[in-house]
Every structure is written in C-alpha cells, then in structure tokens.
C-alpha cells in the first residue's frame, strides 16, 4: 500500500516480486479497492511526512477503511516500521511509540529473538531463533500502560524482541528503549502484526543478511 510519503513501498514490492517471485501489487491510498489481495502490507516511510505524529494522518487515508474491515474479518495485515505506527494509530494494535531513548534517528542492524513462532508471520522460524534485521526509525520506543502490557504478555502477543546475537535481552541490546524490548507485536486474534525492523532490507546476502525473508516466507507458507 502506498501513502504519500511512503518510501519503502518499492523495496517491499521488489523483494516480494524479484527475490521471492510472488504476485504483488501496489494499492493507492486514495482508492477504495483492495483488489482481492491475500495479505496487505503497510510499508515503511514517512507517510504525510510523519507530521503531527508518526502514522497518525495515514490512518485516515480513504483506503484504510477497507484495510480495517479486511483486518477485522481476519485478513492478514503486516505493518513495517511506519506501517506499524499506522496500525497503532488505527487501534488495530495496542500501545504507542515514543521517540527513541537516545532521541536520535537510528539506522543499524539489530538482533531479534523470535518469542512467538506460532503466527502467520513467523511460522517458518523456531522459537528463540535470532534474526539479524535492520531498523531505521525515530519513533520506535514502544510504550503502553501497565494493564495493556500485562494483557499483551498474557496473550503471548510479543512476537519479536530486541536481543543480542545469542538471544539475550539487555538494556544495551534494546537500542530504542522499547517496553519489554518489543520489536514486533501481534493482535490477540493473530492476524495483524506490526514490526519496527525492516525485513525487506534483509532479504539478500548482498545487503548483509537474508534473515528478513523468513517473515515473508512464513506469510507465503501460511497462504499455501
């Protein structure tokens, strides 16, 4: 899906089509048609310049009504980076993003531990597996009120956590300061996921890692 200001739209399409040989198309934010897709991906970028608040204006795009209906009826929706922020703004996922703890934009490879492998987005990973995937964001410091985070934990909704290369959690590995080191989160129904790291940037060896493919390959596997 393309919002004005999306900038990982081409990257995601490229990986799906050229690297993974999937049938993928762009959806334009002003339209009202999901064109029968099996899965909607909200890409990274700076939708509407991230003015007002990251992802807040994109949540009101015309096509988002259809995306919301699709998601609430069980359709697969993945929000990457800015797409995650949009899902939070829509209320499809719980919580909110604060500015990174060092108050700077961060673009770097991080390690992620798969804490929940029983999702449509991680079914090809093993529990505890560590993935090397980059982040690139200003506002990725996940936060929620105490009762919400308790619910998230109780429902096993944390899918990916910032960790070190061996899968250990630490303040140092939690680069942006996220509550519970949350990097990827799923809704309780298990069909809507948001993640700050960019799997499309880690899908070719040339770019330093192929670990991101596991996210897309999981979706493909689930869809049969």
């Amino acid at each position: 899906m393309i919002f004005p200001g999306s900038n990982c739209d081409y990257d995601t399409l490229y990986v799906l089509k050229e690297v993974l040989n999937q049938d993928a198309i762009f959806l334009w934010h002003k339209e009202h048609d999901l064109k029968n897709v099996d899965c909607v991906i909200l890409p990274g970028g700076f939708s509407y310049g991230d003015y007002l608040r990251s992802g807040s204006i994109a949540a009101f795009s015309p096509l988002m009504q259809e995306v919301k209906d699709f998601a609430l009826s069980g359709g697969l929706v993945l929000g990457i980076c800015n797409g995650f922020q949009v899902l939070l703004e829509l209320g499809l996922l719980p919580g909110a993003m604060l500015r990174n703890k060092n108050l700077k934009f961060l673009c770097q490879f991080v390690h992620l531990r798969v804490d929940n492998e029983a999702t449509p987005f991680t079914n090809k990973a093993k529990k505890g597996q560590v993935l090397k995937i980059p982040i690139a964001h200003y506002d990725g410091n996940f936060f929620s009120p105490p009762d919400t985070i308790q619910e998230i934990m109780a429902n096993n909704q944390i899918v990916l956590r910032y960790s070190d290369a061996r899968g250990q959690l630490s303040e140092e590995a939690n680069v942006n300061g996220s509550l519970e080191s949350i990097a990827g989160l799923i809704n309780s129904a298990g069909n809507i996921m948001g993640m700050m790291p960019h799997p499309e940037r880690a899908s070719e060896a040339l770019l330093g890692s192929e670990d991101g493919r596991i996210i897309f390959e999981s979706i493909i596997k689930g869809l049969g």
Binding site: P4, G5, N7, C8, Y10, D11, Y14, V15, E18, K30, G44, G45, F46, Y48, G49, D50, Y51, K104, F105, L106, C107, Q108, P134, A136, Y138, H198, E200, R201, S203, E204, L206, L207
Partner: protein
C-alpha cells in the same frame, strides 16, 4: 532611485551597475536590480572562477552532459545513465545548521530529479571546528540532524561521505552535499524553454518570503551581524519534496513536457532566465498567478524568494491537462503562470502592470567575468617549515590518541542517524573506502566517494588538488571500482583577496592534472567562495566526488580482514613524509610542513594493479592508507572485520619509526590474500612495475607492529577499538 546604499545591499559594484544600465538601456527598477544582483552574484554567475575552471578536462566518450546543466551525466551502459552533482550549503548551515543542511539536501536532489533521474545516493562532506567547543558541537549536531531529517524522510539513502575537524572551520563549517540518480538514456530532461506559446507551469510548494537573497548572502563574507541573516535561510519540507519527486518522475516518464528546471538558489528569477537563455527564447509570467503562502508579497519578494520544493515546467501545449492531473494526484499545485515568447526577454507582470522587462541575455550571458589578482601567500614560507620534533616515547599511547582524534575516529554516531539502507541497494556504506550501490536489474554496481584534505591544500594547493583526486580514485580501486566521472565542490575564501585566488588557481591545476592522468572527465560541480568570517578564511578545501563502476558485483571488495592467517601485502612504499599529517597535528600540535608528494603515473599503476588482482579474485580485503598512516589503516581493517581479527606486521624501511607508522605517504594500499595467492600477486606486481611487499599476517587478537627489531605497537584489538569507537559518542554523551 537606485543609490549607492541600495547597490551595497545588493552586493553590486558601481561598475556593475553601469554595465546593467548599458545592457538594458534604462535605469533598472528595484525588482530588475534584485534579479541582476542574484544572477550576477558569485554563487550564480561563477564570475571569479570561470577563467580557471576552463582548465578542467570535461570530455570523455561516456559523457552525455558536462558542466552547465543542473547535473552532469555519464553513460553507464544497459541503456542507463548516472546523473550526479555536488553542491555546497556552507553559509546557511552556519547560520541555521538544521535547516541549512536540510535544504542543501533538498536542493541537490532537485538538481537530479529535474533531469528525469530517480536519486539513489546521497553523500555529505562535512567540515567542522574542533569538538572541544560547545558551539561547534551544536553546529555538527544540527547539521547531522538536518541531513538525517530531510534525507531519511524522502527515502534516499545517505551512504557516508567524510567528516574532518579543524580550527579553520569554527566560524565557517562546510556542508557539501552529493547526490546521484539513475535515468534511462532516452528519458533525460533539460532546462529548456522551447516552442513559442508553450505554457510555463509553476509546480510544488507555495512561494513565501523565506530565503530572499540567499544566493547574495552566499557571495559575501560574514561579519558580526551574521545572526541577523537567519531569515535569509530557507526552510525545508521533505514531505513536499517527496511528493514533488514522485510527481515529476511520473511526468518525465511520459512525453508531456519540453523542459523542467528547479527553483533553487534565486528561485523564479533563475529558473525563468536560465531556461529562456538556454533556448534563445523569452518568457513572460504573471505573478498574480503564482501560488503564495503569505499575503501582500511584492514582485521583488516573489522573484527573489528561495522557498523550497518548487519547479518550473515548460509543458507541451496540448499536454497541460495531463501534467496537471499527475500533480493533482499527488495533491500538488500546478498552475500556468506564463508562456514561452520570442524575442529573448523576461517580462513579468503584477496587478496588470509590467514590473520587469529585460533581455535574458544581459542577465545570463553578459554577466561580467573577472580575472582576479593573484599573489603567492605570505604564510607559505614559514608554514611549510616543520621544525624538528622528537618521536613519541610510547608508541602505543600515540597510536591510541591518534585513533581517537575525531578526524580518524569512527563516525558511526553520524552514520546511524542517516537511513543508509532504504531502496535496498546498499552493499557498502561508510566504513568502506567507498560506498557501493547495486544497480537493480543489472550485474553492476556504482561506487561513490568524497575526498579532500584541506591541510594539504593549504600548504601546497597543487599537490592538495592532485591528492584529492588520487585518493578518491584509490578509494574506488579498493572496492573494485574504476573511476568514470568527477564532480567537485571548491570551497575557498574571499576571491577578492589575491592569496585566495592563488590557492584557487593552484588547486585547479592539481585537480586538472590528476583528472587527465586518470582519464576522467569533470562533469560539473560548484564553487563556494567567501568562506570567511570576521576576516578569517578557511583552508582551501576542494572536495572531490568521484563515481566509479563495478562491472561485476562479485568483485566488490571491502576493507575488513576476512580470516586469520591471511597474508598482508603493502602496495607502494613507505617514505619519510610527516608534514601536514594528522599525527603531527594531533601529537605534536603543528599544522605545518610539506604535505606528502605524489607521482600520478605511479599512483595510476598501483590503482590499475589493485583492480586487476581484485578482478582475478586474488584479494580478500583492500584498504587505502590515508590520514593516520599505515598503523591506522591496518587497525581499521581489523576493527571492521567480523571477528575483530588482529595482525602482526614487521616493517624494515630505513626511515623514522613515526613516519613508518603514521606518515601519510600517498599511493599505498594494504591488501590481504590467501596464503596460496600471495606469490601470484608478487609476481604480477613485478611484471607491472608495482612495488609490493609482504609486511605480515592477520590473526590472533592483538595489533602488533614492529620496525626492524623494535616492537613499536603491541595492544589488544579490543582496547584500540574502544579508543576508535567511543571517541565521538563520548564527546556527545549527556553527562
């Protein structure tokens, strides 16, 4: 009435004013005067540099567009071309670091996509004063945030560049921004205004009062009043530019327009006059139709505004509707404000009255050209004398101190604020000798590097110019790329000072010689004069942006050691050259001496050889020896390796030990090879008359370097790495 005071405010001399009157056959009104003041400013007209710039080689068989357009263009095969340019945004970045740097990024990107190319690379060359000063720190923080804020949002990867620190930049930091885009060869657009009656469209952001006189400001020295110039700095909106980029590329993908030009420095004035001048036509526009952000703007303000994210398009008469629909899709203004005319005049109307009526030729082609006075600087004699100094008692300590000097220390603090991965093409960004960006749908990659050591240029500008080119090309050779084109940003002091003009002339001489030796054309660039504040000029700072081609992606080679037990080979030789080195500056607090000398032919042989052995698959890693000398070069290859592989090196050159370790002798590359390949490399080297010698081995977890029988450096990799890695973050950490 135009009086002397008004002329001074417009940075025009009485002689220039007389010439204007003669050329247009009347006394100009204030708006017309404003137009001349912009277009005849040093920034827009190159009036002091033109006579020297013509010495640069600009031809080559792959050159599609040389200097004179928005950017240079080089044919890269597969029906594609690379469009690239570097530009300075020094003056605004000192007054208002965040916006100055941000709009620098915005401006250079428009230069690229106005030609129909999608930008795929940004790089920056930054120069700041020492970080011991709070002011310099805040300028650096602001500049880096500005670049990050703009580049990240618009989604073009900022892949490195360089950062140097020197006192001379305390009152005059440099922000040079490079951008490169890719275009299909048959879809290149130029700043043309052809076809009488074709409509002139204004697209993009609305016009406000920001940036009035920006180009004039960039063409004068700063005094104590510089804080008052803050309103002259434009404000950037990367989201608007992203929309403009997508809309323009959609328009240029189809046959809808005749020409397109961005409104950067000098805004509407520059775009209208340049487009008409290039086509020998005229343009008339009606300012009442210009989308405006503020009320009550005068014609003077509208013509001189440098509001960002705007473009001027000359559309085909019957395609206007289609063009407007594309801009509407992206929620952008696209308004017909005038048309192309015959007769070569710029006519501007406002509220039904003609407010500007002048010949375009007078504004563009007949601008005065100056052959400024030249004089050898008086500082040279004493500055090139380096008094004797002792060698360090403890080489380990000197080594650590050098690794943590900000010019040499790791710049990850800067790099990770830039999105250097978006567009999924980045094979290498900062850290490597050059950044490497793959070209999708081909087996090729482009390599890009920026380089320029101003202390060398200060002490010997001709050599400094040569080395800037040679080192940039050497960086390319290390990643496996051959140079294909050059853009340069020449940052100097006040050209009305004869000593500055001497520095300029000599630097160009050096750059021209080196470009001829390497057979690479200069396709454009930018001159930034008047980098003086309160009478102090910066060191002459040529920044060379050189683009290279990797023909086969498999050849991409990095600076990081691969495995322990690999053989370390030095191409080139160590000499007793310590003048102008980072070592002498950091350890002995002297910015003096004769900089390293360079034999361009030898340099070329070594680079060609490096490329050859890389293409034969004999090289595991390659890294160029530059600031900090051989010791820092070796250490960096260790720091960048996955396993932090150490090294053990023994050198036997009969020269001073500090020169062996830290001297900055040119034409040196350190490579590693597998044990079974090293003899092949040495044999080939002998054959090609390239000096090559085994100096040691990689392995273990210590950095050990001996000279003859003496162990000079013996230190754990981790300890050295800490000094290198933590230096800059510690300076910026909040205590």
């Amino acid at each position: 009435m135009i009086d002397r005071k008004i002329l001074e405010e417009h940075n025009l001399t009485p002689d220039e004013y007389e010439k204007i009157v003669e050329l247009i056959g009347k006394e100009p009104n204030i708006t017309e005067l404003g137009i001349f003041s912009l277009m005849w400013s040093e920034h827009c007209s190159y009036k002091s540099s033109k006579v020297h710039l013509k010495h640069l080689p600009v031809d080559g068989k792959n050159v599609i567009q040389g200097p004179g357009e928005n950017a240079g263009i080089i044919d890269i095969g597969d029906g594609l071309a690379a469009v690239f340019k570097i530009e300075s945004h020094n003056h605004p970045s000192f007054i208002e670091p965040y916006q100055g740097a941000a709009t620098g990024v915005g401006g250079i990107l428009r230069d690229i996509f106005t030609m129909g190319a999608r930008p795929i690379v940004l790089q920056d060359s930054l120069r700041f004063g020492p970080l011991s000063s709070a002011k310099n720190k805040s300028v650096m923080e602001g500049v880096v945030s500005g670049i990050s804020g703009y580049g990240n949002s618009i989604g073009i990867p900022t892949v490195g560049g360089d950062v140097y620190f020197n006192d001379c930049y305390s009152l005059n930091p440099l922000v040079n921004v490079f951008a490169l885009g890719i275009v299909k060869k048959d879809r290149i657009f130029y700043a043309k205004a052809e076809g009488t009656g074709n409509p002139v469209l204004y697209v993009g952001a609305k016009t406000g009062r920001d940036g009035i006189h920006g180009a004039t400001m960039a063409s004068a020295e700063f005094g104590e009043d510089l804080e008052q110039k803050r309103p002259n700095v434009q404000v950037g909106d990367p989201f608007m530019e992203k929309l403009l980029l997508e809309a323009c590329l959609e328009v240029t993908a189809k046959d809808l327009i005749v020409g397109i030009q961005d409104m950067g420095a000098a805004g509407l004035t520059c775009s209208t006059t340049e487009m008409a001048s290039k086509s020998g036509t005229g343009i008339e526009i009606d300012l009442d139709r210009v989308p405006q952000r503020e009320e009550g703007m005068t014609p003077y303000e509208m013509m001189l505004s440098e509001s960002q994210e705007r473009m001027l398009i000359v559309a085909k008469k019957d395609k206007v509707q289609e063009v407007r629909e594309i801009f509407l899709k992206w929620d952008l203004d696209a308004v017909i404000i005038g048309q192309v005319t015959e007769g070569g005049r710029l006519k501007v109307s406002f509220e039904g009255k003609t407010v500007v009526d002048i010949p375009v030729k007078a504004v563009i082609d007949l601008c005065p050209v100056y052959e400024r006075e030249i004089e050898v600087p008086s500082y040279l004699e004493s500055a090139t004398q380096l008094e004797p100094f002792p060698q360090p008692e403890n080489f380990n300590q000197a080594f650590l101190k050098l690794l943590s000097s900000p010019t040499i220390a790791e710049k990850e603090w800067v790099r990770r604020q830039y999105d250097h991965m978006v567009q999924v093409n980045t094979a290498f960004s900062a850290g490597a000798d050059a950044s490497v960006i793959r070209i999708k749908d081909t087996n090729k990659a482009l390599a890009v590097t920026l380089d320029g050591n101003s202390l060398y240029a200060y002490l010997d500008p001709e050599t400094g110019g040569k080395i800037a080119v040679a080192e940039a090309c050497r960086n390319l050779a290390c990643v496996g790329a051959r140079p294909i084109g050059v853009t340069n940003c020449l940052n100097f002091g006040n050209p009305e000072k004869p000593e500055i003009m001497w520095q300029f002339q000599e630097t160009i001489k050096g750059i021209a010689q080196a470009c001829r030796t390497f057979g690479i054309p200069v396709t454009g660039g930018n001159v930034s004069f008047y980098n003086d504040t309160e009478g102090i000029s910066i060191y002459p700072t040529p920044v060379l942006g050189i683009v290279g081609m990797v023909d086969d992606m498999k050849q991409i080679t990095g600076p990081a050691f691969k495995e322990g037990g690999d053989i370390l080979i030095l191409l080139g030789e160590n000499k007793n050259e310590l003048g102008a080195s980072e070592y002498v500056k950091t350890i002995h607090q002297k910015e003096k001496g004769i900089p390293p000398q360079i034999d361009l032919e030898e340099e070329k042989r070594i680079q060609d050889f490096c490329l050859e052995i890389i293409s034969l698959g004999l090289v595991e890693s390659a890294h160029d020896v530059s600031e900090g000398g051989l010791a820092c070069c070796l250490a960096e290859s260790s720091f960048l390796s996955d396993k932090k592989t150490g090294l053990s090196v023994n050198l036997r050159d009969g020269i001073r030990s500090d020169a062996v370790l830290f001297g900055e002798t040119q034409s040196r590359i350190v490579i590693t090879s597998k044990n079974q390949n090293h003899q092949k490399i040495l044999d080939l080297a002998e054959n090609k008359q390239v000096k090559a010698a085994i100096i040691g081995k990689t392995g273990r977890d210590r950095i050990v370097i001996s000279h003859g029988e003496t162990k000079l450096i013996d230190i754990p990799v981790d300890e050295a790495l800490k000094a290198w890695r933590n230096a800059i973050p510690e300076i910026f950490s909040i205590k």
